[in-house]
C-alpha cells in the first residue's frame, strides 16, 4: 500500500510504539497490527 507522501517526515506508530525512521524499511507488518501514520502540520 502506498500513501503517496512526498514529505521528509512521516511519523509512524505501530501497536502503540513509535517506529524509528531508520527502521521503516525493515519493519514487517502482521495481520492485526494497528498503525498510526502522522506528519507535521501547521500549528502554533
Amino acid at each position: 500500500m502506498r500513501l503517496g507522501l512526498d514529505g521528509r517526515y512521516a511519523l509512524v506508530e505501530r501497536n502503540g510504539e513509535p517506529v524509528e525512521r531508520s527502521a521503516y524499511g525493515e519493519v514487517e507488518l502482521a495481520n492485526g497490527d494497528r498503525l498510526v501514520v502522522a506528519r507535521p502540520v501547521a500549528g502554533g
Binding site: Y9, E20, A38, G43, G44
Partner: protein, 254 residues
Amino acid sequence: MDERLTIAGRSFGSRLILGTGKYDSFETMRDAVLASGAAMVTVAVRRIEFGDPGEDITSYLPADVLLLPNTSGCETAEEAVRTARLARAGGLPDWIKLEVIPDPRYLLPDPVETLRAAEELVADGFTVLPYMLPDPVLAKKLEDAGCATVMPLAAPIGSGRGLKLRDAIRIMIEQAEVPVVVDAGLGAPSHAAESMEMGADAVLANTAIARADDPVAMAGAFRLAVEAGRTAHLAGIIEEQPTAVPSSPLEGRV
C-alpha cells in the same frame, strides 16, 4: 549587546519564534517566516488522512530553521509523551513544545499534567519547552525538572489581548534561570516589544501575524518590535516617577 538567544546550548539569531498555524497558504507562511527572521518555528503533529495526505509543510520552510514540534491537542501527560516520541522517532528534532490542554474554551494548560509530562520527557532525553500559565512557582518546578525554557501565556491563545498577566510574567523573568519565552495571546507588535522590554528572552507569535491583513508585513513588524524591545531592555529603561521631572534646567530662566 547580547543579541543571540541561547536555549539548551543552541544559539539562535532571532528572539522571535513563529507558529505556523492559521495562514491562508503555505506560501504566505513561508514568506512570513522569512520576513520575521525567525530561526525556530512550531509545527503540530496530526494523523494523515489516507487518500488525501495533503501538502508537506516542511518543504516550505527554510532548511536552517529549527522545527519545534508541539503537543497541541493533547489533554494528558500520556498523550503528550506519546506525541513527542512519535515525532522524534519519525525524524523530527528531539525538541518539543509541551502543551497539555484539557480546556477547549480558554485553552489553558494543565499545570499538573504539564509538569508530569515534562519530567518524563526530560528523563527520555528531550529538550522540553513547556507552555504554561504564568505561575512563578510552577516555573521553578519545571526548571528544576530540567526544562530548557518556560513559556508563559500572555493571554489565551489566539485572543490577541496582549500582556494581561504581565505582573506574574515579570516575577517569572526575575526568578528564572532558563530563558522565558512569552507565548500566546499577543496581538500586536507593541505587545511583543513590551514583553522584551520587561526582560523576556523571546516571544512566540502566531495568530497576530497569520491573521493580519498582510501577514508578511506584520511578521516584519514583529521582528522590529522584538529587536526594539530587546535593545531597550539592555539599554536600561528609566524608572517611572510619580510626578513630572523637568527635562530643561530650572536655573537661569530668562
